[in-house]
């Protein structure tokens, strides 16, 4: 049953991801990206990481997608759905991408991935909370500094227009 769910979610995610790069309209790309995020949230649920799934929906779809759609609308190209979709170098770039794909596929299929042992604990969120202020406190505090730095930087850049 889990296999079926995983297959469906992967199809949704990959299909949406393909549509993101092939749709001519920028806004529709953003909407397909949102569908891809939903697929990823579903895969997190299958991994018993429910907190991560809800974080994906709350932050990526609720906040970052809105930011992206605003950014798309801020650029004037959104009104023009007839931009050229292939530039002249597409042959060369396509070749490199295919090479990269073959290399990655070879790596993924040959590495012996370690499988987690034992049951997933029931109280993952409590453990996450305890870890934030325990072993991982430095990254936790630096995360807040990073967030503030990002906010200040973006405010400075966005206000230059005025």
């Amino acid at each position: 049953m889990q296999q079926v769910a995983f297959a469906v979610l992967s199809l949704i995610t990959l299909g949406a991801a393909i549509m993101v790069v092939t749709t001519p309209s920028l806004l529709r790309s953003a909407l397909w990206l949102i569908l891809a995020f939903f697929g990823i949230a579903g895969i997190f649920v299958l991994l018993n990481a429910d907190f991560l799934a809800i974080t994906q929906i709350l932050v990526y779809i609720g906040a970052i997608s809105t930011l992206m759609i605003f950014a798309v609308m801020l650029s004037s190209k959104v009104m023009d759905p007839h931009q050229p979709r292939f530039n002249e170098q597409w042959g060369l770039v396509g070749g490199f991408s295919a090479l990269l794909f073959v290399a990655l596929a070879a790596i993924v299929s040959r590495v012996v991935w370690p499988v987690a042992q034992g049951e997933v604990p029931v109280d993952t969120i409590q453990r996450l909370g305890a870890d934030f202020v325990g072993p991982y406190v430095i990254p936790f505090e630096i995360a807040s500094v990073l967030l503030v730095v990002a906010m200040i930087g973006a405010i400075i850049i966005a206000r230059e227009r005025e």
Binding site: Q2, A5, V45, L46, N48, D50, F51, T55, L58, V59, G62, A63, I64, T66, L67, F70, A71, M73, L74, M79, V122, I125, Q126, R127, L128, G129, A130, F132, V133, G134, V137, F140, E141, A143, S144, V145, L147, V148, A150, M151, I152, A154, I155, A158, R159, R161, E162
Partner: protein, 118 residues
């Protein structure tokens, strides 16, 4: 835990099916008489002037930005809140530090007018 999410998945399918079924029923029983006057875009009863493109104020982007930062902060607060009762005093001090840094950021945004609507 997974059976609960199976319920959510079933629920989501039905929650999407309800509006779709409603719209199909409506499509079957409503009149369809398009004519140019009805299909034109609404602009207070006049013909539209100019393209449908509004000057997008950067202000909206700034609001979304500050929102992203505080949203991520809230996400960090939740696991801490759930685990709080079992942790020691250090949990409190570290969270105060975390929130203080972000409040500093909020004050900066406030002073720079990023939160004002012009």
């Amino acid at each position: 835990m997974l059976p609960q999410y199976a319920f959510i998945a079933v629920f989501a399918i039905i929650a999407f099916a309800l509006p779709i079924i409603g719209l199909i029923i409506s499509w079957l029983i409503r009149p369809k008489k398009p004519n140019p006057a009805k299909n034109a875009t609404y602009e207070c009863g006049m013909e539209t002037i100019g393209d449908t493109w509004v000057q997008f104020k950067a202000q909206y982007y700034l609001y979304a930005l500050v929102f992203v930062v505080f949203d991520v902060e809230a996400i960090f607060i939740f696991p801490w809140a759930v685990a709080y009762n079992k942790l020691g005093l250090y949990a409190l001090i570290e969270m105060i530090l975390f929130v203080a840094v972000l409040v500093g950021g909020l004050l900066y945004a406030w002073r720079k007018g990023a939160l004002d609507w012009h």
